[in-house]
Subunit: 421 residues, 2 copies
């Protein structure tokens, strides 16, 4: 179809608008970490079309969603074709029964009410909304290493200065070093005051979880400084024993913290998209106004609620059968984690994490994370995530995700044994 | 359960953090328009528990989703319980087959490729992401009246000054007056240059649609000024005849425009949540860098893709049967629109819109929109939307949404005939 108009369309355009590129986005380094990993995986598969590439990179769930949950989603979807079952716009904050069930399931007796819970399409989206909520003028702290969305969204909002290549940090962000030396919990006596403190526990990527005692310290630190903790508990169900599953288990936390969480890693909802954020009424700005009021405004202005079908799935997740099924899913991935931990331990590596989280954090002292990533990919065809992608204190580490079919994880471990024997 | 610890939780906390409230959010007036309407409706229902309240307010779809679409969603949901059907994270930009089908269905022969299409959870979310994309330093223009998310999200991003009560406008926004006097198309000779021009056609709330000739003027205006048009085509399928259904039908538009759209009003997806934004490769910042590259970064950093179940529904919408079913849904609501237009016309009102859009824009000269809203609600128990909620040029108008069951619309019209006879 070689019409002259379509020919014209093919001529590369040299026209530029007069709109300046957003200088904050220009500060970002390379691509967002996980698309970059995906790109390298695709490149590898082109190079080796016949090998079985195993992905222990992006923390992407692999096991089917329990039927009790998908059946509820299918029922809700089919109901939308009926006069009685049809629903249009729901509340931007989520459906009331789901908000109530989240409050009673995850925060029993913690003073979290249904209307403190904002259902979302996932924690990553909520992190961006939280950054829009706080705006450009706040200062922030992050664990180093940490999930890259915290830093990148902060840069995009203009909270930071430029990237400093020599130290691999943005100025105006307080990086709280979390390494084996400090049991992956920051030495708060060395941390400067910031307005916002992002804190993820159980942690992605190190797989460690803060103890009750450590979280009491963190809440005290926030309270002394008048800071707000943005607590990411997306892996809480992986925490064993007495390890806190919510920051709100710590007395006084409701005055200094909000918490974001997700169904992704419990029910295999990485593709279904469902999460939530809790903003307690007790959390207030310096002028005494509630943070929740502004968060509600952000949600109402820039979001229209999570998919009603996904919300039906979420409600089913929190039924007795759904909870049981989610515990089985979590248990399965914890089984994978143990296999990975045992393999690397037996090979003589220093292995961290893997007890309270589906991530295993392996030390390759003196080596560059990206070099180890490349070597493992080239020699074993296993995709991992380089620790330095999570921050400078991740250098020398590689994150192995426990999300995978059992036979893939076993096969990956066989290949690691071959490589490192 | 009167334990002392739960008693402590009930004592109102006086603690405040030292974090300053985001000054941009503080600039916003009252609540976001539609939750405010919902609140007034709920209040009315409490006052009159026994009357049948009819909602022609929020543009919320009411008709069941065609079965060909919900069946596909149910099938995808159930498939997630199988090893072969399970999928985790999809691309942040959406699933390839859906991106391709959107490009070929809505932009045939317009030079829009699959990878120019970014699938989202709806146009409202994308509008916020687009504001984050452009950042705080751009200037913007909006139609007056317009969908309130454009102005509110601009305020939140810090693109504006304070609200001026006397003129009911924010400083640093160019309000492009759209009234019967100018055929609801702004007099561009009086519009100052801005970086960004939000433009919605067919228009919410006025129900008017720009002609091809008018859009050629708009594209020329943008090109002369080096501006970027954010074109909202969420109601395109309601446009009749030769009325353009995409800004990309206008030659040269790809160099000056991006376009956001939605399945909400075609397939009844207001609750399912699915939309898309097209960012052509030809659209460039003043430094020559493609806008699409930065939009992709925003999407990857702050979003994890639309729900896979919703995307399966979207793909079914674009099958031959799905398209036919969507045309029937659109045709049904257009039937409602005609009933509303005929009713108000026969009652002697000046009636606008309703030909190319599911909104009827009725003039109540000399009256306050909120007063008319209140009178109609009080006397007919019908919820509408006051025109002034969309901007100062909407004062004296009321928007009637054509989204409703047929018998509700007929009953509402009977009540209007009684009120205004």
């Amino acid at each position: 179809m070689a019409s002259s108009s379509s020919d014209i369309q093919k001529i590369p355009s040299t026209y530029k608008t007069k709109v300046s590129r957003n200088g904050n986005i220009a500060k970002l380094q390379a691509g967002y970490l996980f698309p970059e990993i995906r790109r390298r995986k695709a490149e590898h598969m082109l190079k080796y079309p016949d090998v079985q590439v195993i992905s222990l990179g992006i923390g992407d769930t692999t096991e089917p969603i329990p039927e009790v949950i998908t059946t509820a989603m299918a029922k809700r979807a089919l109901g939308l074709s009926t006069v009685d079952g049809y629903t249009g716009y729901g509340g931007e904050q989520g459906e009331k029964p789901l908000r109530a069930r989240i409050a009673s399931t995850f925060y029993p007796n913690l003073g979290i009410d249904e209307d403190d819970v904002y259902v979302s399409d996932g924690a990553k989206s909520d992190i961006s909304r939280i950054q829009v909520l706080f705006g450009s003028d706040v200062t922030m702290a992050v664990q180093d290493p940490s999930y890259p969305a915290y830093v990148d969204s902060s840069v995009i909002m203009g909270q930071t200065g430029q990237y400093q290549k020599d130290v691999e940090k943005f100025t105006n962000i307080e990086y709280m070093k979390c390494t084996p030396e400090n049991d992956f919990f920051p030495d708060l006596s060395k941390v400067s005051r910031t307005d916002i403190i992002f804190f993820c526990s159980p942690n992605n990527p190190t797989g460690s979880a803060a103890s009750r005692e450590q979280l009491i310290q963190l809440v005290k630190f926030a309270k002394d400084n008048g800071s707000i903790i943005v607590y990411d508990s997306a892996y809480a169900m992986y925490a064993s024993g007495d390890t806190p599953k919510s920051i709100f288990e710590i007395p006084g936390a409701k005055e200094v913290a909000l918490e974001t969480a997700s169904f992704s890693k419990y029910a295999g909802f990485t593709g279904v998209r469902l999460g939530w954020t809790v903003v307690p009424k007790e959390l207030k700005y310096s002028d005494g106004s509630p943070v929740a009021k502004d968060f509600n405004r952000i949600v109402c202005t820039g979001f229209n609620g999570a998919s009603n079908v996904a919300q039906a799935g979420g409600l089913a997740c929190l039924s007795p059968e759904g909870l049981e099924a989610m515990h089985q899913v979590v248990g399965f991935y914890k089984g994978n984690t143990k296999i990975l931990v045992d393999t690397f331990t037996s090979l003589g590596f220093k292995v961290y994490g893997g007890i309270h989280a589906p991530y295993v954090w392996v030390h390759f002292p003196g080596q560059s994370s990206w070099d180890v990533f490349s070597e493992i990919l080239e020699k074993t065809h296993v995709v991992t995530t380089p620790g330095s992608g999570f921050g400078p204190a991740g250098e020398g580490f590689v994150r192995f995700s426990a999300f995978g079919h059992r036979d893939s994880v076993l096969e990956a471990c066989r290949r690691f044994q071959e490589l490192y024997k």
